[in-house]
Structure formats: C-alpha cells, structure tokens
C-alpha cells in the first residue's frame, strides 16, 4: 500500500542574525541555510498495519507524512501510495487517503460541522446512502451527533478533533495519516480516540501511519514502530522487539511485609537497588540475571509480593533517540 525508497527532502531556510543590524543586513543580502529534513528513508506499510513514527521535534516525522500525503514535493527518491506518486495529487489518489492533523484544523472554521460534511460529500462524490450511513456511524461512535450544527470555531478542542476525525473518515480512506491526533486532549478523549481508531482499523483495514509524542498512543495502537532521528530511521520493527533488543534490564518490585535492610546491596553483577521506601524496594536487574537476583532478594528481604516488569518503553526510546545509530 505504501512503498518509500530513498526519500529525501531538504528545505532552504532564511538565516537571520538577531537585532536591528541583522534585519538591515537582510535587506541587502540574505543568507540561506539548507536543512535536510529527510536523509534517504525507505519504508513499506501493508493494509491493516498501523505504523508509529517516533522521534523528537524536528526529526522529520511530519515531513515524511506531508510527503506521503502529497502536500510537499521530495528533493529526491520515490514513494508510491496505493500505486500513485503522492505529490502528483491525482484525484483518484486523494479520494482514497486522509490526513488528520492534531495541530491544524482542516474543517472550515465558520461553518457548522454538518455543512462541512455535506460539502465533503460533494467533494468526495459520496452517494447519499453511503454518506448518511458513514456519518451516522462515525458521529455515534464518537458521540458528537448533538454538536453537528454548531460552528466549528465554537466547539471544544476534543469535539473539534472528533469532527476532524469524522470528516477524514467519511469517505472510508484506504490510507490514513495521523499527525499527533491526540495532542492537547484530556485523558478520556485520548482513550476514546484510540478505541475508535482501533475499531476503525478492525472494520476497514486501512494502512495507517501515526506520529505522536504520547507513548500511550503508540503502545495502544501500533505493533510496529519506526524511530526517526535527524531525518534517518534508526529502528524499524515490532514494538515488542524494542524491549527485547534495547531494554537491557527488567524492574523487580518487592512489596515488603516489614521494613527492609537499608544496608542491603545486591552484588554488582546482579543489578542494583533503585529505591527503598517503607513497604517497597525496587531493583534494576540485567535480563539474564533476573531468576538469580529474584532468588537472592526473596532470601534477603521479608517479601510479601514480587513483580517483574519491563523497563518503561518511553525511557528506552528516549535513550535510543539520544544514542548513536543502532
């Protein structure tokens, strides 16, 4: 469905010195800087897959999404989405994709959502029956039926985002790009958005690419992630493998029946005690040494309960983003 090969994108950015002197200089001669947003990335996404694009601000996630949605032209490389070059913007291509941007409203600000949807019905040439059934289904699922006649600018952020989602999915796109779809939403709205997207995926099996800074979004929606740093992919694979491959430790939490021994120290090779609080001790143990360390902890502490957990995935990804190329 999506095939990207050696895609590159550079922007020329005007460089301006600070202050009045810099502004005056800029009047005569401008300095330009070339910024490489994507440095030759390749990717394949199949139908029904949700791929999470993870990276710091300015890593190139949104640029990739904009390229694949046909908004910007690449500097070089190729991409085929549903067999089309996105930036040629063939109408048949545009009828089969959707882009949802959490930071940018796409619906017409002054119009009630109902008017926007009717306009979209004409733009996407949706037959009346299909339009009505899609609209009812989507508005019911997202619980925004009562707000249909309110102008978009008068809706809350959560309601607006839901309307954006309805607008983007009315024509049942085969490829969906989601750029920070839950940004700024409260926890309940985030959760209902995620549940809705999973339900939509189950029913329609589109290829989806999601960018988000919320690891909860990535963990809930994506089996596969692509980690992008400074315009390059540093990891492309299963989310679960990130833990296997990059999480060197597990976290053992011992609930204590009485106060633990503050002087206790695990032998260095078995890991370290991260914290000791009344009723609880936490240890960071190398994955291979977990059984041995657990035995020793059980022997040395009055343990009422012992849990073994993976390291926090967001910590691992943050580390990956900071470290050198994998």
């Amino acid at each position: 469905m999506i095939e990207v090969s050696d895609l590159r994108k550079s922007f020329k950015v005007h460089k301006k010195e600070a202050g009045l002197k810099g502004s005056l200089k800029g009047l005569i001669k401008r300095q330009w800087e070339e910024k490489h947003a994507l440095k030759g990335v390749s990717l394949k996404v199949e139908a029904g897959e949700i791929v999470g694009l993870v990276g710091a601000n300015g890593a190139g996630k949104t640029t990739l999404v904009k390229l694949l949605a046909g908004i910007v032209h690449p500097s070089s490389g190729t991409a085929k989405v549903l067999g089309y070059s996105p930036w040629e913007r063939d109408n048949n291509f545009r009828r089969q994709i959707a882009l949802i941007m959490g930071q940018k409203a796409q619906l017409w600000w002054d119009l009630p959502a109902a008017d926007c949807f009717l306009l979209l019905q004409e733009i996407y040439r949706l037959p009346e029956a299909q339009f009505r059934s899609s609209l009812d289904k989507l508005t019911n699922a997202l619980g925004v039926g009562k707000q249909l006649n309110t102008p978009i600018r008068r809706l809350s952020l959560g309601e607006r985002m839901k309307m954006e989602l309805v607008a983007a999915l009315l024509h049942q796109p085969k490829v969906v790009f989601l750029d920070e779809p839950t940004i700024g939403l409260d926890l309940n709205a985030q959760r209902s958005m995620r549940e809705f997207l999973l339900e939509y995926r189950r029913e329609h099996r589109p290829a989806m690419i999601l960018t988000s800074h919320y690891m909860e979004d990535i963990e809930a929606l994506c089996e596969r992630i692509v980690i992008i740093r400074e315009g390059e992919f540093v990891y492309d694979g299963a989310l679960s493998r990130v833990l296997e491959k990059f999480a060197g430790h597990k976290v053992l939490t011992a609930k204590l029946s009485s106060e633990g021994d503050k002087a206790f120290a695990l032998p260095g090779i078995l890991g370290e005690m991260v914290s000791l609080n009344p009723g609880e001790a936490k240890f960071k143990i190398p994955r291979a040494k977990v059984p041995e360390a657990a035995g020793l902890i059980l022997k040395s502490f009055p343990v009422a309960d012992l849990s073994i957990e993976e390291e926090d995935i967001s910590d691992i990804i943050s580390k990956l983003l900071l470290e050198s190329r994998v």
């Binding site: 922007f11 949104t62 904009k66 949605a69 046909g70 908004i71 910007v72 032209h73 913007r89 109408n91 048949n92 545009r94 009828r95 994709i97 959707a98 882009l99 941007m101 930071q103 940018k104 796409q106 017409w108 002054d110 119009l111 008017d115 009717l118 306009l119 979209l120 004409e122 733009i123 996407y124 040439r125 750029d179």
Partner: protein, 271 residues
C-alpha cells in the same frame, strides 16, 4: 459528464458562501453602504463643484447626472469584477490552510474561483439595491434598461474571471514571499486609476488613453460600466470581449505556471 462530476461541489460552495455573507449582516450592510456611499458622495460633491465652476451642462459628453451614473456603475463594475479580493489565496499559503485543498480531490483555484463568483453575485445584488435607491433619489435620464443591465452583469462575470487570474498570479507570490499585500494594493490602485474608476477615461489625454488601452485595466472597469450604461455597440462589445479573452488566456496560463512552481516550493507550514 466527468467535468460535471468533478465540479459537483460548486453549487454547495456558492450556497455556503452566500449563507456566510448573509449571516454576517452588519458587515454586509456596512461594506455596502459605506463603500458605495463614500464613492458616490465624493463623486457627487467633486463633480458638482466642477460643473458649477465651469458653468457647463456637459463635459466630455457627460451630464452631471450622467457622470454620477457612470461613477455608480464604475464603482459596482469594479466591485463585481474584483469579487473576493481579500487575500484569501495568499493567506492560505502563508498560514498553511492550503494543505486542506491539496488533500481534498478538488482544484484549489477552482474552489477559490467559486467563492469569488459568490462575491460577484453579491455585488450584483447590491447594485440592484443601489439602483432602486438612486432611481428614487435622483432620477435622471440614465435609467438602465433590463437588457443593458443583463449585458453588464454578464460582462462583469467575464471580467471577474480575468481579474481572478491576475489576482491569483500576484497572491501566489506568497509561495516565495511572506508579504504580498503591497502587490494587491498596487493592482487595486492600477485598476481604479487606469481602469477609469477614479476619473473617467474620456478625461485622459489622447496619448494617455492610448497607453491605457494597451493594458487590461480599462476592460476590467470602464468597459463593463459602459455596458451597464448601454453605451457599447455590439461590434465594440465583441472586440472588447475578444481582447478580454486574450488577456484571460495569458493570465490563466500564467496562474497555472505560478501554481505548479509554487506548490513545489510549498512546505505546509503550521503542521
């Protein structure tokens, strides 16, 4: 058939834009009354003083009432021709709203032309109100026949297409430059002065009239104004429409080229 299918959304855009215009009723009346009122008041006091000073009953073929009607029609011809010249294209490019039009299966320029057309229709509606008012207020021998009114409206639709393309070329400079309002102001001034909205072209010296006739501006304002007044023969109308066609082809081609090059530059700011 395919063309009709591709533009099924146009009536919907027209209806939405009309609803928007009528829902902001204060803006509608203020813009109409203030704009038309100012133009006509200036013309009235200025030309009354000139006619009284010259002790003349006609000047360059205009009576006092005739010149007022000319200003009325020049003002409305300019207004209807300009349609929605409010920097929509440049603003969309500047703030990244263009993105939505790149995603939807429609033509951006086509969509904007549909909104422009709505503003043209609103201009015609306002002209009808102004005519009714003036017929009662000042009377005169320049009452417009239904045929010349229809011909004037049709001519304005054609001039509106040319103006839309000229304006698009200028506004799409926003793909490269952040500020383009100065170009838009220049176009508006050129249209008013060289188009005959500020001073009727008959008052220009012969060489000035010749120079101005080499630009598209007289066809944008003075020509439709004279069609409204019933002063244009069929032969003259055909020649001017042919000229209008020529300029329209030139600027349609230019607008398309600027669009194609501009969208290659577009970076979709704001997302």
């Amino acid at each position: 058939m395919k063309l009709v299918q591709n533009y099924r959304w146009v009536p919907h855009v027209l209806s939405i834009e009309l609803k928007k215009a009528f829902s902001y009723r204060v803006a509608f009346w203020v813009q109409f009354l203030l704009g038309t009122g100012t133009d006509l008041s200036v013309a009235y006091f200025l030309w009354r003083a000139i006619f009284e000073n010259q002790h003349a009953t006609t000047m360059q073929g205009f009576t006092f009432h005739g010149i007022l009607y000319y200003y009325l029609f020049a003002s409305f011809a300019g207004k209807i021709t300009r349609g929605a010249d409010r920097g929509y294209l440049a603003q969309d490019i500047y703030d990244g709203s263009l993105t939505r039009y790149l995603l939807y299966p429609l033509s951006f320029l086509g969509f904007k032309f549909a909104t422009h057309l709505t503003q043209q229709l609103l201009g015609v509606f306002q002209l009808l109100i102004a005519l009714a008012f003036l017929a009662i207020a000042i009377g005169g021998n320049h009452a417009v026949s239904p045929a010349s009114f229809a011909a004037g409206c049709f001519t304005c639709l054609l001039t509106g297409y040319l103006h839309f393309n000229i304006m698009s070329c200028l506004e799409m400079v926003a793909f490269w430059q952040d500020v383009v309002w100065n170009l838009v102001v220049m176009l508006r001034f050129s249209m008013s002065f060289l188009g005959g909205a500020l001073i009727p072209l008959a008052f220009f010296p012969a060489w000035g009239q010749h120079l101005v006739s080499l630009t598209p501006f007289p066809i944008l304002v003075a020509f439709p104004a004279r069609v409204f007044l019933g002063e244009v023969t069929l032969h003259e109308w055909v020649i001017n429409v042919a000229l209008l066609g020529f300029w329209s082809v030139v600027f349609t081609f230019l607008a398309r080229e600027v669009w194609l090059r501009g969208t290659r530059q577009y970076s979709g700011v704001g997302i």
